[in-house]
């Protein structure tokens, strides 16, 4: 059995344009806005804020993204102290 020929297209690592940064809307829970900023950075494959890699959820999602995109890990394997 041989691998199927892929449909021509850009590499899976192709990144779409960075979306404009969204500020917190009036009355929005700051925690919701903070989570959105974090998720937006992961989603757009942009830089994470310092310290974000200490968040276990971010580390897991980053690992999954790196694996799915098949790129080198962007998060240190060893948790920071």
């Amino acid at each position: 059995m041989t691998a199927r020929q892929p449909i021509p297209g850009p590499a899976v690592t192709a990144v779409r344009p960075l979306r404009p940064t969204r500020g917190a809307e009036p009355g929005e829970d700051p925690a919701v806005a903070e989570a959105d900023a974090l998720i937006e950075a992961l989603s757009s494959r942009g830089p994470l804020s310092p310290g974000a890699s200490r968040d276990p959820a971010v580390r897991l999602l980053s690992a999954l993204i790196d694996d799915v995109d098949q790129r080198r890990s962007s998060v240190s394997v060893t948790p920071s102290a």
Partner: protein, 212 residues
């Protein structure tokens, strides 16, 4: 109407968006034009459309299906099937006001469910031996990444279906809050609240495991 050529829309930095959000109006019009041309059988438009969709469909399938025998062949085959199904359905596609992303990820969701139900996972296709050195990560990094990614998949699988789908579409597939909302039938605001809850739940599960 913008002159659509393969080069201009296939370029990742200027590529069309699947969005229908306020910041994506121009992109939405591009995609609508592109989809309209593709439905009419315009070969260049079809190629451009698939070139835009394929990376996101591959990410979605890989994140949902994971690796089999350490490889993504099954997920990539399913992604291929999704692209083929989209191509096959294009002539029958009618713009009923719903975003094209809903159509595509609706197909992807069904194909992934079919694959998960399928028990035929034993035959793993092999690629030809490479002629040159492998530029990818080394064995150690590959194993560590694999373990971490599988850990992520395992915890994601324990989330409620709607939270798991939301995080995969929003984070791994790379859709915006607006696009994710369009696929899931939620407002962008509802997506932001739900993703906050899903992230908090994932964090709690990860912390609980690390202390167990």
């Amino acid at each position: 109407m913008r002159n659509v050529t393969e080069g201009c829309v296939a370029d990742a930095k200027s590529g069309v968006r699947l969005a229908t959000g306020s910041e994506g109006v121009a992109h939405r019009d591009d995609l609508k034009d592109l989809t309209s041309l593709a439905v009419q059988g315009d070969r260049t438009a079809i190629e451009s459309l698939i070139a835009q969709l394929r990376p996101m469909v591959v990410r979605y399938c890989r994140s949902r299906l994971g690796r089999v025998s350490g490889q993504y062949h099954i997920a990539d085959d399913v992604a291929q099937e999704v692209c083929i199904a989209v191509l096959s359905a294009l002539p029958r596609y009618r713009d009923m006001g719903r975003p094209f992303a809903s159509f595509v990820f609706g197909i992807a969701s069904h194909k992934v469910a079919d694959a998960l139900r399928s028990s035929v996972r034993s035959a793993v296709p092999t690629q030809d031996l490479p002629d040159g050195p492998d530029e990818g990560p080394g064995p150690e990094e590959t194993v560590v990444r694999y373990i971490e990614a599988e850990h992520a998949r395992r915890l994601l699988s324990r989330l409620p279906d709607n939270q798991r789908e939301l995080l995969i579409l929003r984070v791994v597939t790379g859709l915006s809050a607006e696009e994710t909302g369009n696929v899931l039938g939620m407002s962008p605001g509802a997506v932001r609240v739900a993703q906050h809850r899903a992230l908090a739940r994932l964090r709690a599960m990860a912390e609980l495991e690390s202390t167990a």
